[in-house]
Point group: C2
């Protein structure tokens, strides 16, 4: 049985209004404004829980700590090899890739995660 918690609610709302895919640490720092006594453990517990429920996305970028995204609509992510920033990326024509992937596969494909790597507009030479 899942019980309501003001902290969880606040964490989810925070993520919904951020577009930079914060880390647990960043969430924690920002939560402290409204909940001075909140603990990092609580942040981690709620982030994991929300990710399991599918209400947020967890991103493992391969650089540093995991990041979290409140946008659950299908979209992709770009990670800058120079500055490490994480950007949203809308890419058309990838909706069918679960089906493509399942064609020669005996198990069940339930979802996917795509990370693009390169140089972000700020770090790009041009």
């Amino acid at each position: 049985m899942l019980k309501y918690s003001r902290q969880r609610e606040a964490i989810k709302n925070f993520l919904l209004q951020r577009y930079d895919h914060p880390t647990a640490e960043t969430v924690y720092t920002n939560m402290k404004e409204d909940f001075p006594n909140i603990s990092l453990g609580t942040v981690y517990r709620n982030l994991s829980l929300l990710a399991e429920l599918g209400e947020i996305q967890k991103l493992s970028t391969g650089f540093g700590p995991d990041r979290f995204d409140g946008n659950t609509a299908p979209h992709y992510h770009f990670i800058c090899n120079s500055c490490g920033c994480v950007l949203d990326l809308e890419v058309g024509g990838l909706d069918h890739i679960n089906i493509l992937a399942g064609q020669d596969f005996d198990g069940e494909i339930e979802g996917h995660q795509v990370y693009f790597y390169g140089k972000c507009p700020n770090c790009s030479p041009s």
Copy 2:
């Protein structure tokens, strides 16, 4: 200047003959057979180095420690939500996704990583 090392060579060869995407710990355990005194630090150093050189791939699956893949040919990965195993997946028709992704993007796309999630053949109900 990069200097030859028997340990690095052995790590690379080990990864080339494994298809289960071992963790650093697993590489370490196996290296100890040939190099009883090898240290975990050396394993991590060489895995990072090889990944930077593009001779192996580092996989951040979102579950547990990073994994490593000696197969540098373009291919994708499947991660089982039940048992956590990581399988190779050949998916046709995804070669162009860097181009698709770059179309509305101001930076530079240099590469991508795709993870599929679901139930592997062993964990699948059927």
